[in-house]
């Protein structure tokens, strides 16, 4: 039995998100493991936080659950006070602050935010490091134990202004081929396609190893 090595890779897993034309996609693998042993193949790291707003929480599983629950709390109070749905950028800022509050004893989570602005329906993706440094690029974001592989796949496959179907195909291929090269990720994948009037969740047929 190994002692707890790297908290970021202890449980394994990966999340990525991409922008398309008037749509965004976010995907998560389904593995939950304890070092080399796989415990569950149903551990989706993506949570819905608004009608068109999803957040992925890869990293140490205990922290991903806690960060999600604490964000839920803050987001719910915000929406009650302000009487409106939270914007993706604002939620990103809130998560960033939550993580930075633990600057010197951080949560081992590197979240991914993906959604459409509630009013303008503008696509938005973002990620941040475990102490809340945000990154809001124009194309895609990746996070987890196989970021190198995911970056390679995204950089190759992503193009601007893809339609929802093209975006789905793109993110699916990027995820599958990236996490298939990582022992700590995989065992299935869920892809969320977020459009103006619908959200589609699909389970990918993947190598179950």
């Amino acid at each position: 039995h190994l002692s707890m090595a790297n908290p970021m890779s202890y449980n394994g897993g990966c999340v990525m998100a991409m922008k398309g034309r008037n749509c965004v996609a976010i995907a998560s693998d389904l593995r939950f493991g304890v070092q080399m042993q796989t415990i569950s193949m149903e551990f989706d790291k993506v949570q819905q936080m608004g009608p068109r707003l999803f957040v992925g929480f890869p990293g140490l599983a205990t922290d991903t659950q806690t960060v999600f629950q604490r964000m839920q709390f803050r987001k719910n109070l915000y929406e009650l006070r302000e009487n409106k749905s939270v914007r993706p950028q604002t939620l990103m800022n809130m998560i960033s602050n939550l993580l930075y509050e633990r600057r010197f004893g951080p949560y081992f989570v590197e979240p991914v935010v993906a959604g459409l602005d509630p009013i303008s329906l503008e696509p938005y993706v973002a990620t941040m490091d475990l102490i809340g440094c945000p990154m809001e690029p124009e194309d895609f974001v990746v996070s987890g134990t196989c970021t190198e592989q995911m970056f390679g796949m995204c950089e190759t496959l992503w193009q601007p202004d893809m339609s929802p179907d093209e975006l789905f195909e793109c993110i699916s291929q990027a995820m599958l081929n990236a996490f298939d090269r990582d022992a700590a990720s995989g065992w299935g994948c869920h892809v969320y396609l977020i459009e103006r009037d619908q959200v589609t969740v699909r389970a990918l047929k993947a190598r179950m190893d």
């Binding site: 915000y78 006070r81 409106k84 950028q89 604002t90 809130m94 602050n97």
Partner: protein, 241 residues
């Protein structure tokens, strides 16, 4: 409590207590203090909000330019008051702190309605905390709401009640002021006319000659809040007298 004084450390109980008839007399008296204060006016136009207030002193020796009755809370929100000046400084400081704390927490400017809720919450706190008295001011908050892209005008009372206005007057002669506004106000008013009307409303209760040095005017538009300079006020006054 951010402004705890020696008094509130010694008093665990609130000084604002209910009368047998169910009133909080300290709040009633605070409202009297507001009513005795210098007249202020707020008017919401289609493309902005105007705040105006009388600035008269007992002595001509006072350097009027050094005192501000209308103050910016953020680049997009302004505040004016009627009542006790020193109490306004405390409320203003708290409002500014609230606004920047919001910016830090959410990465965006505080919406006017959220700001007035925080101001009102502070005012309510001072009606139910140990050893403190209610604020002797009512404030008018002018702001631009970015979500709905509209101007907003709010009032907050010593009790902590807040409400939105199309136009209103506070302080001395506020009853006549509101009557005047009821006649002159309409929903299609534009900012230029609203400034004009605000100055006229102040004029109703003004003793003596109104100049650019004895009134203050602030306007809030989509691009932000600013106070009119004395020369700008002078131009408006020229259009009236």
């Amino acid at each position: 409590l951010p402004f705890a004084t020696a008094m509130s450390e010694r008093y665990g109980f609130s000084l604002t207590t209910f009368s047998p008839s169910g009133k909080l007399v300290q709040i009633e008296y605070a409202l009297k203090a507001v009513e005795a204060g210098a007249p202020s006016v707020g008017i919401k136009a289609t493309n902005g909000v105007v705040l105006a207030v009388e600035k008269k002193f007992s002595s001509a020796l006072i350097d009027a330019a050094s005192l501000h009755r209308i103050e910016a809370v953020t680049s997009h929100c302004g505040l004016v008051y009627s009542g006790l000046g020193p109490d306004f400084r405390v409320v203003l400081q708290d409002a500014r702190r609230s606004a920047v704390a919001y910016q830090l927490a959410y990465g965006e400017a505080i919406p006017p309605e959220q700001l007035v809720q925080r101001v009102a919450a502070l005012m309510q706190e001072f009606t139910q905390s140990g050893g403190v008295r209610p604020f002797g001011i009512s404030v008018l908050l002018a702001g631009w709401d970015r979500d709905t892209n509209r101007p907003m005008l709010f009032q907050s009372d010593p009790s902590g009640t807040y409400f939105a206005w199309k136009s209103t007057a506070l302080g001395k002669n506020h009853v006549n002021g509101k009557t005047f506004l009821e006649k002159r106000y309409n929903e299609e008013l534009e900012l230029e006319d609203a400034v004009h009307t605000a100055i006229l409303t102040l004029k109703e209760s003004f003793e003596g000659q109104m100049t650019e040095d004895n009134i203050e005017v602030g306007i809030c538009k989509q691009d932000g809040f600013k106070k009119l300079s004395p020369s700008e006020i002078k131009d408006y006054l020229a259009g009236i007298q």
